[in-house]
Structures are given as structure tokens and as C-alpha cells.
Amino acid sequence: MARLVAALSGGVDSAVAAARMTAAGHDVTAVHLALSRHPASQRTGSRGCCSLEDANDARRVADQLGLPFYVWDLSEPFQRDVVADFVSEYAAGRTPNPCLRCNERIKFAAVLERALSLGFDGVVTGHYARVERTSAEAELWRAADPAKDQSYVLAVITQEQLRRAYFPLGDTPKAQVRREAAGLGLRVADKPDSYDICFVADGDTPGWLRDKLGARPGPIVDQSGAVLGHHQGAFAFTVGQRRGLRLTRPAADGRPRHVLRVEAETNTVVVGPRAALRVDQIHGCPPLWIAGRPPAGPFPAAVQLRAHGRPLPAVVSPTAEGVRVDLLEPADGLASGQTAVFYDGDQVVGSATVVATAATGTADDSGAPTDASPRTTDAAAPPPGRVRPPTPGHATTPDHATTLGHEPAAGRPAAAA
């Protein structure tokens, strides 16, 4: 029997997770995390966990399960480490995932540390992922229900944290979780899932960012630098985005244009054809290895670049600066700030934040159209110590093919780790 803190969001998943650990004989204390400084009184839309209604749902779940219940105020670290981080990352032209950051900094850091200090042995959440515990270490695996798998957003927690994390829903399909909740008579059995970013009240992330950062008008240009239109803030665009560009001049080939990169320093959004989004090499930093130690050398892996992205076959090589990922199938529209998660089959090996990308042309993408237009030069000079992709060649910019190998092709400035 372990003494565990169950983080109850007020939703069905965490409720059933707490119920299962209680039924298994553990001594469970329920905690609701107050993350918002000014919680709305009622839940709206699909954003769960931050309203007073959600806090009350969590309290009622604890009542029904017979668990002690407390509210822990984590609004300050959440504001600092998740919300402010989200804003400053976007302002710097990067694309962070706040759920991942919340797991890294709040749920399995601030909450877990507080729980351990208070004499608990670990933290239970309703995440869909599996933890396999061997005598030596804990392993993180995908959930049995692929549609609900959340191993991606958990791939940033350390071995020490993982050993004290319990995800009792990892082997269960969501439908069964709801049935189980209904069987326990939990009022949240039919509560809708939450999808969107919890702190963006109406789901309009660009609008929310505009409120925080103010309008910052700037140009939308093509790869040659020709101005095609204007925007109200480069931060509102993400790489790969096609809609909402409001360009006045059609592309020469008549095909849709996508955001290729966001240059924060010059507040410029660069657009171009879909083919120019292609990336087959990624540099990541700092890598996190779930096992707690780096792999001995390059290894084959499936790399997932978004929470619900398709894993791509790749070779992952630890480097002095971080990690290099050579994709065997190219990815489209990858932004720095995103997290690359490395899988061995269904097991999570590690993760890294994307700091630079390149299109070397070595990936198996035969038949894909080649971008004939030269890319604009990167806005920022490479800072000292930045990752230097060793593979020369740049298939999408023939006139630079032999010289630009040192530069990351996707134009977002690399994060200085």
C-alpha cells in the first residue's frame, strides 16, 4: 500500500484513476489543482479543469470515493512556468505545447515535490499512458487506447518523477473508463472531454495572444522577400498554417501557400508552397532520456512531433549539443519550440525540444515536388554554440546546395537552449 496524491481535475479520467488506486488498497488523498488566478464560475465549451464548477466536481468525486480532499493553489507557478512561458515562446516565434510544459513543471514537479515532502509516495493522474516498473527503473509506454494515448505530453518527465507517477488508465479504452465511472455512480461519468488549452477561455489562441502581446503589424512575404500582405502579429501564425493569411496576390503556380516560418526579430511571416515545408533533419535540445541516461549511440526510432501526430521512422543520434534526428520520411511544417518524442515501438525513449530543422533531401520522398525558388537567408545569424548539422546539401535550394549545409533551413531562429 502506498500513500498517494490523486490529482482530480473534475473530469472523468482522473476520477476513475483515483477510484482504481483506492480500490487497489492504496491510501489516496484527493487534490484539486487551482491553476487559474481568476477562475470562471462555470465551465464553458471544452476547456476543463480551471473553473469553480470543475473544482466542485472534483470535490464531489472525492466525497463519493470517500477521499480526503484539498485544493492546492498552483496558480503562481502555472502562470509563470506555463502561461507566461507560452506567451514568451510565441513572441519569440516558437510553438510550445503548454500541456507538456504543465506536466514537466507543475503536475510532476511542483505537485509531486509537495506530495513527497508531505510524506506521500507518489502522484496519480488520469493520463492515458502506461508505466512498466522493473526493479531498476520505470518505463513509459503508450496507452492501450491509441486514440487517447497521452504518452507524448508525458515524455518530458524524468526517471525520478516517473517512478513516483501512477497512470492507472493506461491499459483501458476511454469508453470503459466512462462505463466504470457510471458504475461507481460518479456524476462526472458523462462529462465532456476537454481538448483545448485550458487557459485560453474561448479557444481563440491567436486572439488570446493578441490580447497579451498587443497588435504588432508586419509583412507577409514570399521566399524571395516580396511582400504579399500584412498581418497583425507574427506570433499568431504557426508553421504549416494555410488559412487566414489573406494574401492579395495568388501564387505563381496557383497552389495554396503555407506559413514556412515566423521571424520574430523582424516580425515577418514567410509563406511558400507546401513542398518548402518539408523537413528531414531535426536538431533538438536539451534531450530528456526516460531511462535517466543517454543511449550509447544512434538508434532507430519512431519520432512523433505533435500530440496526435503520426510517428515517423528516423534515426536518432545523441550529439554533444543535444540530439540529431534524421527522418526517413520527411515531416511537413515543423516549428521550433515543438517537442520531438522518440519511441521504440510503443515505448517512450526520450524527447527534445526542436531548435533547428533542415531539409537535406536524404529522406525517402522521391516524387515529391522540389521547391525551385531560393530560400531567403535566415534572419538571424547562428548564435555561438548552435547546432551545426553535419550533413551537407540542401536539396530544396539548389543554388545553395553545397554551402548552406551549416545552416538550419527552417528559418525560425534557434533557441539558445
Binding site: 484539486h32 464560475s41 473544482a55 480526503p68 484539498y70 485544493v71 496558480s75 515532502s117 508531505l118
Partner: protein
């Protein structure tokens, strides 16, 4: 629960006494609305009026001065807002309201709400001991003479137990031409709470609540002198001198009166008994490194049932969780609607920093069930809880 709970939170609510429960049961058997004109109505009305007379007698009021309410908060709102509005209705120049900075939110927030109506609200500072700074209060009253709507100063503070210098303040308020209200919710069971007679030093109105003294939750009263002006805050059938509409809960009122009688009969013995327990607890806390008992040093200046202490580096909410798990119930102050613990405005007003000591306080409050063994159990559990809470961070 791992074991029987040790209840040290009587200032939050105290158990219903058998006497009060029996009074409730008997009155609840009477079928009739006290406002109905038939025999059943008259029977219920009789229950209410007998209760009113008992409450009035205990608190030195005339029966028509007892306005039954849903509890202390409603009584405080009626006194502060209803009183200030009535005073200004009689003289538009009476637009200043004085309260202490350590009032219960029922008074403090009611007073602050008056600002939206054009009142000036002055919050008197308190000293390190949690008692109103008399010199500052007198000075501000003198400067405001002739414009004072009313003042409200609690009898005993609900967090620290500090007894406010009403004997000095109430006459100073009256000298400024205004009446003085006092929230006596925490004081009634252990202190000599009475309205002033013609020329003595008491307040002009007091708020009381049944469940702090052995009665049921959901009933209380504003008890006021005849000359304390009031206007209604809510509207309806005009019960309670048209000041508090709504069917009078005869059974609750009867249980309240019974509990008040009982508490007043036992007041001296119980105050002495709890003062001894508090002294033991205070001494024990003083012996623990990093613990400071707050409030007045002089036992005569504090209500005997409340002991508040600051535990250096230990978040009150963490201490509460740990003590709760050990079967000890105490209070870490108030929480917001979502359940998030807030720094104590009382400790803050006493000069404790909001992000440190004001979040490190715990209140232990004693009552009818408290015994020596409870104090022993608490003092035994505290060192381990403190050691853990301290590693969990407090800033």
C-alpha cells in the same frame, strides 16, 4: 478516518448541544407559521416571542431589539449597511463608516460595499497584538465628528481571540455622535456581552450566531438598542419589524435561545476551564522552536477559546492537511470559493507579511468537547507535522 477526530475548530462551528436539539424538536412539532392568525400560528408565534425575550434578557436588550436572522453574517450586514443607510437617510452629512482592519469579512466586506454608495470607509489599524490602535482610532473619530454614520468593532477576533477595547472605543464613537455596533459572534459564549445601558460603555448593537455556542446552524440575531437606526436590506412580508422579511424559523429560534441560555449559565465555569486549556496549549506551543503565538500576551485581553500561532516556514494549508491526516481538526484561515487558502487579513493587519507569516498561521479553537488529552495529542503531533510542512516549502 484513522481514529476518532480531535476537534479543535469550535470557532468555525461547535456541536449542537442536547438541550438545543431537544428545544428544536419540541418547537418543530408545532404546526403553524408564526405570522398566521389561527391557533397554530399563535402557538408558533409564542415559541418565537418566548425565544426573543430570552435572547433579549441575556444580551441586555428589549425584546423588540432582537431581529432574528439567518446567522452572524446577515446580522452584520443588516447592522453595517442597514445602519449606515438609515443614519444617512436622517442626515445626508453622515457618510463615514469606521471598522477595524481585523473584522470578520461579514463586516469588512459589508463596509467596503458601502463605498459604492458614496460612503467613506475607514479601516482602523491594529497593533502587533491584533487590538485596535486606540490613539489612531480616537484621532480619526475626532476628526470626523459630526459626519460619522456608524462604527463597527468586533468583540473578540475570530482568528486570534483578541478582545477589542470596546469599553474605550464605543464611548469615543458616541462622543462623535454615532452608534457603535459589535460583531460578538465569538464572544457571547465566554464574555460579558451586553448592550450598553443608558450611560455605560457597551455597544449599541451586537451580532450573535447560534452555532458558535451550541445551537443550530442557520440562525442568529442582530440585537440592537431601540435608538439604533436600521433599514431593511431585503423585502417581502415585513417580518421582524419589517427589517428582515421571511418566515421566522420558530424551531431554530427556540434552539438558539436554549443554547444561549445554556452557554450563559455555564459561561464563567467554561471560560475558566478553557482558559486553563489555552494556557497549557500556549505554553506548549511556546516550547516548540519556530512557533510564535499571536495576539495579546495578556490572557485577560483574549477570548479563552482561541489560540492562534505562526509556524515558521510551514504553510498553514500543509499543516492542516498533515494534522487532518492525523485526526486533528483545526483551521488555516479562510479559503476562496474554489477552496484555495488565502493569507490571513488579520495576521497581515497585525504586521505579518502576506506571503510569509500570514500564510503560516493555524487557529486552534476550543469548546465544550475540549479536554486536556486533546491538547496533549496536538502538542505531540505538531513537531512531525512541522518538520514535513517545512520541507514542503512555505514561500
Amino acid at each position: 478516518m484513522p481514529q476518532a477526530m480531535i476537534y479543535l475548530d469550535h470557532a468555525a462551528t461547535s456541536p449542537l448541544t442536547p438541550t438545543a436539539a431537544e428545544a428544536w424538536r419540541r418547537a418543530a412539532a408545532v404546526v403553524g407559521n408564526p405570522s398566521s392568525l389561527h391557533a397554530g400560528g399563535r402557538a408558533a408565534r409564542r415559541v418565537v416571542e418566548e425565544a426573543r425575550e430570552r435572547v433579549a434578557e441575556r444580551l441586555g436588550a428589549e425584546p423588540q431589539g432582537v431581529i432574528f436572522t439567518s446567522g452572524g453574517t446577515e446580522a452584520d450586514n443588516l447592522a453595517v449597511i442597514g445602519g449606515a443607510r438609515a443614519r444617512r437617510a436622517g442626515d445626508p452629512g453622515l457618510n463615514q463608516v469606521f471598522v477595524s482592519a481585523v473584522e470578520h469579512p461579514a463586516v469588512l466586506e459589508a463596509a467596503r460595499a458601502l463605498r459604492a454608495e458614496g460612503f467613506t470607509v475607514v479601516e482602523w489599524p491594529v497593533g502587533r497584538d491584533g487590538r485596535v490602535d486606540l490613539a489612531a482610532a480616537r484621532q480619526s473619530l475626532a476628526a470626523a465628528a459630526g459626519t460619522i454614520a456608524l462604527a463597527s468593532v468586533m468583540w473578540a477576533n475570530n482568528e486570534t481571540g483578541a478582545i477589542q477595547p470596546l469599553a474605550e472605543l464605543a464611548p469615543a464613537v458616541r462622543a462623535g455622535g454615532a452608534p457603535c455596533h459589535s460583531d460578538a459572534v465569538q464572544a457571547v459564549a465566554y464574555g460579558p456581552v451586553r448592550l450598553r445601558a443608558a450611560d455605560d460603555d457597551g455597544p449599541d448593537a451586537v451580532s450573535v450566531s447560534a452555532h458558535k455556542l451550541g445551537g443550530p446552524v442557520g440562525v442568529g440575531a442582530l440585537v440592537a438598542r431601540r435608538d439604533f437606526p436600521l433599514t431593511a436590506l431585503s423585502h417581502g412580508g415585513g417580518q421582524e419589524r419589517r427589517l428582515r422579511s421571511g418566515t421566522i424559523p420558530a424551531a431554530l429560534v427556540a434552539a438558539f435561545a436554549a443554547a444561549l441560555d445554556e452557554a450563559c449559565d455555564r459561561r464563567q465555569d467554561e471560560a475558566r476551564r478553557l482558559a486553563e486549556l489555552s494556557a497549557r496549549l500556549t505554553a506548549g506551543l511556546g516550547g516548540l522552536p519556530g512557533v510564535v503565538v499571536t495576539g495579546p500576551q495578556d490572557p485577560a485581553a483574549r477570548s479563552p477559546h482561541i489560540v492562534n500561532a505562526v509556524f515558521d516556514g510551514c504553510l498553514g494549508e500543509n499543516m492542516l492537511l498533515l494534522l487532518d491526516a492525523a485526526g486533528l481538526a483545526c483551521s488555516a484561515g479562510s479559503a476562496c470559493a474554489a477552496g484555495v487558502a488565502r493569507p490571513s487579513h488579520v495576521l497581515t493587519a497585525m504586521g505579518h507579511p502576506a506571503e510569509r507569516e500570514a500564510r503560516w498561521g493555524l487557529r486552534f479553537s476550543l469548546g465544550v468537547t475540549s479536554r486536556d488529552s486533546n491538547i496533549d495529542a496536538l502538542l505531540t503531533a505538531l513537531p512531525a507535522a512541522m518538520a514535513r510542512a517545512r520541507t514542503a516549502g512555505g514561500e
